[in-house]
């Protein structure tokens, strides 16, 4: 059932176009947040919690994998709208696959039984098929071989592009049939996040990110050579 306020809200949001054709987000985060003020309080809270798990910028640099996975489990268990739970699950499962590809390329061995290293239904399958190029999940993630090839060629941006394209298409697939309801708003915001991330891929932001990562990992030692 469409809620009247969401008809107005969705109509007030500009068309986001295609992911890779965008040079900037369709509207600024400030403007987006102003429009999102129309959300019901519980919906605003739900969307904020989803973004805290799915949006890289909202993830603390020092957060452990186990801590993040606990947060993801809590979020999915608390989501009362099945579509949004599926959105979160699908995205985190794809991220788990990317993480596995990177771990294997780095020479790491398969995760041990019971080890919490990823999210979702495919962690055990991936661990069992660690030596297979496609981790045994090509049927679910048809892009896994292409991602593996790009990763071996050192094309990290290409892997990210592949992942983001998948995430974009999944949002479109899952959001089909939702036009003027909260699900449509949530899908719009998550697509906005993807555009925002893609349009911020540039040398300057990469440098800042590396500096902040280095600072975080050095911790107290960063004063040593100052």
């Amino acid at each position: 059932m469409d809620e009247p306020r969401y008809v107005t809200l969705m109509s007030s949001l500009p068309y986001h176009g295609r992911l890779f054709g965008a040079r900037q987000t369709p509207l600024s985060r400030f403007q987006l947040d102003k429009r999102l003020a129309w959300l019901e309080p519980e919906h605003a809270d739900t969307l904020s919690r989803i973004e805290h798990v799915l949006r890289w910028r909202r993830i603390a640099l020092g957060e452990s994998d186990a801590g993040f996975l606990d947060r993801a489990d809590t979020l999915v268990a608390s989501l009362t709208i099945p579509l949004l739970a599926e959105v979160v699950r699908t995205r985190l499962e794809a991220r788990t696959l990317i993480a596995a590809l990177r771990k294997r390329k780095a020479g790491q061995s398969a995760p041990g039984p019971g080890e919490r290293w990823g999210y979702g239904r495919w962690t055990n399958v991936i661990a069992r098929h660690w030596s297979d190029t496609d981790f045994g999940v090509q049927r679910v993630f048809p892009w896994v071989l292409e991602a593996d090839r790009r990763l071996r060629e050192g094309d990290a941006l290409g892997v990210d592009r592949l992942f983001m394209e998948y995430a974009w298409q999944e949002l479109g697939r899952l959001g089909a049939g939702h036009y003027f309801d909260f699900e449509a708003v949530a899908i719009y915001v998550l697509r906005w996040d993807l555009i925002d991330r893609w349009t911020h891929y540039d040398a300057e932001s990469a440098r800042d990110r590396i500096v902040s990562l280095a600072d975080a990992s050095l911790g107290d030692y960063q004063e040593m050579y100052a």
């Binding site: 009247p4 109509s11 429009r35």
Partner: protein
């Protein structure tokens, strides 16, 4: 029993107006809210959006015409016919207006992003209007013999 049948007949006379009005209220409100939202995101074309949002108002007009056609001296013989035609045509008008409102809201959203598809975006709303016209015309045809 006869009084009850006649009462049903009278309800059938007013049903197309009442149900058509409810549909037009829902449809125009849905499309109107989309028009308001679109105005926030655009710098021109406001009149077009408001114009589209008024499309689901035609159903109430059809309902009024059907009501006048059914509004004849009520007898036990013609009351059941008036009841059936009035209620069912009213329901068709209600649903067509409510769903036409959704079509109009989507058309407003699409036309906002791509003004060149403005006419084509209205096609689904026009098709839904076509079904309302079918219900209206055949209600008139049948009510002549009710």
């Amino acid at each position: 029993m006869n009084d009850f049948i006649i009462m049903l007949g009278r309800a059938g006379v007013y049903a197309p107006v009442a149900l058509g009005a409810i549909g037009s209220i829902i449809g125009c409100a849905t499309a109107g809210q989309a028009a308001i939202g679109a105005m926030l995101d655009t710098e021109s074309g406001y009149g077009r959006y408001v114009g589209i949002s008024a499309m689901p108002s035609s159903q109430i007009i059809y309902g009024i015409v059907v009501m006048f056609t059914l509004n004849q001296p009520m007898t036990v013989e013609n009351a059941t016919g008036a009841f059936g035609i009035g209620i069912l045509s009213g329901l068709a008008l209600l649903l067509s207006a409510a769903y036409q409102g959704k079509c109009c809201a989507s058309a407003i959203q699409a036309a906002k992003a791509k003004p060149e598809i403005f006419g084509l975006a209205l096609a689904p709303a026009a098709i839904v209007e076509g079904f309302a016209v079918f219900a209206f015309i055949f209600a008139l045809v049948l009510s002549a013999g009710a």
